[in-house]
Symmetry: C2
């Protein structure tokens, strides 16, 4: 089932450049070897995507929804081979990957529902007012149209839910955009299995083959060529800050610049308010370390920063967290490269003159294992060196001792943009939290209380985004139904004959969707 | 009433650098002279805007709506002095400026209605599902929050409707964003009168003074410093392609890049289909020249390109349009600079080897007058030199003779992004138009039939935007209620206590707005 091919539209093709995947738990090279796509394959896939665009964008809502459900079913039909291959390529445990498969399939089905509902079209009709003085008002109708072919860059840390058929692909296809996936080189077998599932769904749905292509590879040139291709109209990316910024630069320098939705880096501050710290510091310490070390800390929403007021309660919290971390087991990281970056980041913190190491986790026998790391510093020192606020991807976190709520607020106000911020608070802390809210809401995409940031619900109200550098575009989200908005743009039709209007804008409302009439929204029908 | 000051928050201050405005109709310098803002004023205005942001963003809907209405009333209260000053500074006639004042006031009132309605908040609630297996769903609530202080660059061609209190300012204030306006140097007296009206409205509403500042000036450094200021979070701009791109570059190179909404250049293709050309070519020729020469052609939506099939009907159309243009009166342009650019653009077309001059309009006695210009070429020649598709701001237009509908479609498919495209068609043309629709819809923000692109309705369904280079961000509009979306970003609140939630997200829905509950929208209450 895995033969290392590029999937270009309906075709499957071997390339002469090859690369291999590594089992990070053993360091062993996995078979088979894989095609590494070059510029010619990019051009071919993009040409097919462009050719497929008009027909795919014009599919009716039911056909597009059924196509998304077809992908979901095909992924399930791969069966355990998908889980086993993903385990071998990522070092992630079975239960995690089974859960992630459920989420991936759930996302595709959720977007099928979004498509059927039709609210994403934002269909808006201002009827003509022929009698208006001094000038009559024309008939104006607005709808969101698909933006064009989309390039998707899979992430290593969610080889299913944020990769080939992940949230970016699901939302772009739901919008009516063909997708060209740049396959992540850390899990090419997993990627190929999923890509074939999509390719089969395209064929079964009778769609043009160019609706989907899959280009695995390990070179930066591949990604650059894809973003630079003039047929690509938007980019979805999840990965490192350096990678996201490089793609954003290429996109901005095109003759026609295009939007890049890059989800990049975040340290996800957790503020522990005094009453909560006093009442349940010991429990919080354990939860914190559990969230920090879950999945070897390889989450975009990993709690990399804790802010609390200095004093005996914080001393106890630090002691308890340190004890929990000391007992934490080492865990295989996703790739040798990610492991090396983690080690480098931890070493930089450990050797920083303003930082004290609270604890390290257990050291294991295996290769590429994250050993948890917990550090502390003061607010003053934290603010004095921006390097202390840079993400260390993995189970590393810094506790910052602050003098007061005002100092916590000052630190939060100077943080870069974040995906999340967490408040641990008891009712007695609410007045303090209210002072922090306007400051923290400006820095993040999601504020959560009395939980931990890891674990991102896929839902209409979710925002997995945030100001730069959490993302390259803080006006959007990459998780949840709102993610579809990234791949749409509004177009207005003035005085067009019904036959020339998109179906959703005709008077008969044949798709039975909720619309906005003369400025007033109708309720969703479903 | 006009003393040439900078308005920084609630203050009025003279700067040592000065500049003057010119009456384009006479070439005479107008009094008084004006302060030209420098970097220190930018920093001060931005600091005040930042300080004002939390309180302004937290205003309730009624207070913010009333503030917008207060601005509108204050502008009306200036009375005829505003019209007379704008006439002197722009060369535009009284009726046009009175109409533009009506539109400016109408936009502010429209956005007051948008604010009261509250749909722009996109309030979305996914109630907790504590019983869900395997994991409970948290309580998730999402809302659009104001993005932060906004920089607005006024346009010269709408000294009221797209300047100090124009669409960008109205939509940014409606979103809850403080605004720092970089005043256009072509109409500083008009700008100051309107800026004082806003300043007074800020004071009357009891808002922090930093909600609005006005920085006139004539240097590129002023605009650059404003966009580079770290407190500015978004930019609204209407003007030249070179100007918009320069600001976009500065914004992209900031430590924290920010969105730039620049409305730049468009030649607004008009396709005349065969049946329409045969049936009413003479009338279309007259309407075309009327649209082309209206306001000296100084509209973003000026019809700069006509596409039609070669033949005797097109010969007649060209003859009729040429005759109408030959009879057209010269008209004063907005500024000596715009006039010089127009002359240069017309001269480049007139001397182009692949272009024939059809006609020129009447030459007048006055200075800075546009003399209409009508050219023709073939599709083949048009496609061979991209310079032929560049905007010439003013009453200059090119008729492109095409061999067939397929050639028209090919030309449209190769055009850069446009604000509008116009179809002149009769019922017999609908089959041809249907072939063109998917191609043309990708290139533009608005498609209109059997009208002319000049004249942009301010309404919920309007899109005054379009792919690059019509704008720097084709996902939005700068006219109509959707323009508010440019200055918002979504934030999610998870398991927050009611006291810490924005009012619009609390269970009691105290603002009585329509929300989305568990993925389903409610109808707008008003």
């Amino acid at each position: 089932m895995i033969d290392g091919a590029l999937l270009i539209g309906g075709e499957s093709r071997q390339a002469s450049d090859r690369f291999t995947a590594v089992n990070p738990a053993s360091g062993e090279t996995l078979t088979p070897d894989f095609s590494s796509a070059r510029a010619d394959a990019v051009a071919e896939a993009c040409a097919l995507a462009e050719a497929a665009f008009p027909a795919f964008a014009a599919t009716d809502l039911e056909a597009r929804a059924a196509f998304l459900e077809g992908i979901a079913q095909n992924i399930l039909d791969i069966g355990d081979a998908l889980i086993e291959r993903a385990m071998a390529e990522s070092g992630l445990p079975r239960a995690r990957l089974e859960g992630e498969r459920g989420r991936t399939v759930g996302q595709l089905r959720l977007f099928a529902g979004v498509v059927r509902q039709g609210d994403f079209l934002d269909a808006t009709i201002d009827p003509a007012q022929p009698e208006r003085a001094p000038l009559p008002r024309p008939d104006l109708r607005r709808i969101n149209l698909a933006i064009g072919p989309v390039a998707v860059f899979g992430a290593s840390n969610f080889p299913l839910a944020f990769s080939v058929a992940g949230g970016d692909t699901a939302s772009a296809l739901a919008a009516g955009c063909p997708v060209v996936v740049k396959g992540h080189p850390a899990h090419p077998g997993t990627g190929e299995l999923v890509a074939r599932a999509i390719q089969q769904a395209v064929k079964a749905a009778g769609l043009p083959a160019g609706v989907f292509s899959y280009l695995p590879g390990e070179t930066n040139e591949l990604g650059g060529a894809l973003v630079a291709d003039p047929r690509i109209q938007a980019v979805g990316f999840t990965g490192s800050r350096a990678g996201g910024l490089a793609l954003a630069r290429i996109a901005a320098e095109r003759d026609e610049p295009i939007p890049v939705y890059a989800e990049m880096s975040s340290i996800n501050p957790v503020v522990i308010f005094p009453a909560a710290l006093a009442a349940r510091g010991a429990a919080l310490a354990k939860e914190y370390v559990a969230s920090l070390t879950m999945g070897a800390g390889q989450f975009c929403t990993n709690p990399g920063l804790v802010l609390a007021i200095d004093g005996p309660e914080l001393d106890a919290f630090v002691r308890d967290a340190g004890a929990a971390l000391t007992d934490s087991q080492p865990a295989t990281m996703l790739s040798p490269g990610i492991h090396a970056s983690f080690e480098k980041g931890v070493e930089a913190l450990a050797s920083h003159s303003a930082v004290t190491t609270i604890a390290r986790g257990k050291v294991g026998e295996g290769v590429n294992q994250a050993v948890g790391a917990l550090f502390q510093t003061t607010a003053e020192q934290f603010l004095a060196d921006v390097a202390l606020s840079h993400e260390v991807f993995g189970s590393s976190s810094v506790v910052v001792r602050c003098a007061s709520i005002d100092e916590i607020i000052a630190v939060v106000g100077k943080l870069e943009g974040q995906l999340t911020a967490t408040l641990q608070l008891d009712p007695a802390d609410e007045a303090d939290a209210a002072k922090l809210m306007p400051v923290i809401a400006r820095r993040v995409g999601r504020v959560l209380a009395n939980g931990w940031p890891t674990g991102v619900e896929v839902a209409p109200a979710m925002v997995h985004g945030g100001p730069f550098p959490a993302t390259s575009d803080g006006r959007t989200t990459s998780v949840g139904t709102l993610a579809i908005a990234r791949f749409l743009r509004p177009v207005c039709f003035q005085n067009l004959a019904p036959a020339l209007l998109p179906a959703a804008l005709r008077d008969d409302n044949g798709w039975s969707i909720a619309r906005r009439l003369d400025g007033k929204r109708e309720a969703s029908p479903r």
